[in-house]
């Protein structure tokens, strides 16, 4: 008798802007495009509002991968929020890489309200990549009274 070994199902957190990517993800659904259910969407007004601390919080609370997505350059609902965000991400990525955070687990994208298919591809692709990487136990977790993954291992 054979047992199916259940594959690791990564937890993905996506921080998306209200105007483009959230609407894009909506379109994915209304277009009946299937995609990996591993992602939890967190909607913020604008990518300009996506503080780098939010990404750390996601990993600290057990995310295995993070997606950050918003309007294409030039399409920001607030004119320039995504331009500012882009600069912050550029610096943040360099710092994360330097302190040994795995950049393969942090994905940035522009997904417009019309790009339902791109959203599905993005999530599926990130899921596949993170699945191959396995759980992100190397990132410390927020204390909640339970043993830390590092202690268990």
């Amino acid at each position: 008798m054979e047992f199916a070994v259940s594959a690791f199902e990564p937890k993905l957190v996506a921080f998306v802007c209200n105007w483009c990517t959230y609407a894009g993800a909506d379109l994915t659904g209304t277009s009946r495009i299937k995609y990996a259910p591993n992602v939890r969407l967190i909607r913020l007004p604008c990518t300009g509002r996506i503080d780098f601390m939010l990404l750390l919080q996601a990993f600290g609370k057990g995310a295995d991968g993070v997606i950050v997505s918003g309007c294409h350059p030039g399409d920001c609902h607030y004119t320039a929020g995504n331009f500012h965000a882009r600069r912050r991400w550029t610096l943040f990525r360099r710092l994360l890489d330097f302190v040994g955070v795995d950049l393969r687990r942090v994905h940035f994208a522009w997904v417009s309200a019309a790009e339902g298919a791109k959203w599905a591809e993005l999530v599926n692709d990130v899921k596949t990549k993170i699945q191959a990487l396995g759980p992100y136990d190397a990132f410390p977790k927020r204390l909640d009274g339970r043993p830390q993954p590092a202690e268990v291992a």
């Binding site: 780098f52 350059p73 882009r86 912050r88 610096l91 710092l95 302190v99 994208a109 204390l143 590092a150």
Partner: protein, 268 residues
């Protein structure tokens, strides 16, 4: 050193400044301590050597120091840069301090205005020291797992005393992110996540602003090289956005401006 003392005496005697903030001999020959000289006679206590490292611009925001009146500030390159950056961030009025820049040969230049500081600092050599550069490159070249392990080991020693923040001339927020508790962004405890988040947040909040004085890691009682985090960000901000904080009083904060064609090859 004598030139510095003489200039301090003159400034105090003329009443140009009410105090000279400089360095005095420390507990041991390998240390120096910040000191506040109020009278010409006390100027004999001023010293200048390679141990005079704490960035004295840090003191300018303290109410007790503000109360002293107009100050002269013994300065190295990073002190001058801190003054310009503070001015760019509207934290320092022109003329509030007279910078006394001490060159490697001991020559003292009196810089009474921000314009004078700008002019001098523009002529100084730029960039990291060779030792800092080597350490930066060494860590950056480590494989990901080793880099992660290196910093996890370093941050494990962090006791959240916040000496890094207290020593930094540009950490002047009346209320720091780490003290915000609704929500509690950064854990209070010095657990692995709390320490990682604190050190990342500290570096990020200085990105494009840091003047590379190294006071943060000099202050760390555990000797964590957290200045390297700042150097990495400073380098990225310079190469990507041309940011050179502390060379001008013009506000050109890299994270408060943008170009439509900024790098984005990592964004799909």
């Amino acid at each position: 050193m004598e030139a510095l003392r003489q200039r301090a005496r003159e400034l105090l005697a003329a009443g140009t400044v009410q105090a000279v903030l400089g360095y005095a001999a420390g507990s041991e020959p390998d240390r120096a301590r910040p000191c506040f000289v109020r009278t010409a006679a006390e100027a004999d206590g001023l010293i200048w050597n390679e141990h005079c490292r704490q960035n004295l611009a840090t003191y300018l925001q303290k109410p007790e120091v503000r109360a002293l009146g107009r100050l002269a500030l013994v300065a190295r390159r990073s002190t001058l840069r801190a003054l310009l950056q503070l001015a760019a961030e509207n934290q320092l009025a022109d003329g509030r301090v007279v910078a006394l820049f001490v060159a490697d040969d001991g020559a003292v230049t009196e810089l009474p205005t921000l314009a004078a500081i700008e002019e001098l600092v523009a002529r100084l050599p730029r960039g990291l020291s060779d030792a800092d550069r080597q350490e930066l490159d060494r860590i950056a070249a480590l494989p990901l797992g080793e880099r992660q392990a290196y910093w996890a080991g370093e941050f494990a020693r962090c006791i959240k005393c916040y000496a890094c923040r207290a020593a930094c001339p540009l950490c002047y927020c009346a209320r720091c992110i780490t003290e915000a508790n609704q929500p509690q962004w950064i854990p209070v405890s010095s657990d692995p996540l709390g320490n990682l988040e604190w050190n990342i947040a500290r570096a990020m909040h200085l990105a494009g602003r840091c003047v590379d004085c190294g006071s943060c890691s000099d202050a760390c009682p555990e000797g964590i090289r957290l200045d390297l985090l700042n150097h990495v960000l400073a380098e990225e901000a310079r190469t990507q956005f041309g940011a050179e904080p502390g060379y001008s009083v013009r506000k050109d904060y890299a994270l408060a401006s943008f170009k439509p064609d900024d790098k984005q090859e990592y964004i799909r």
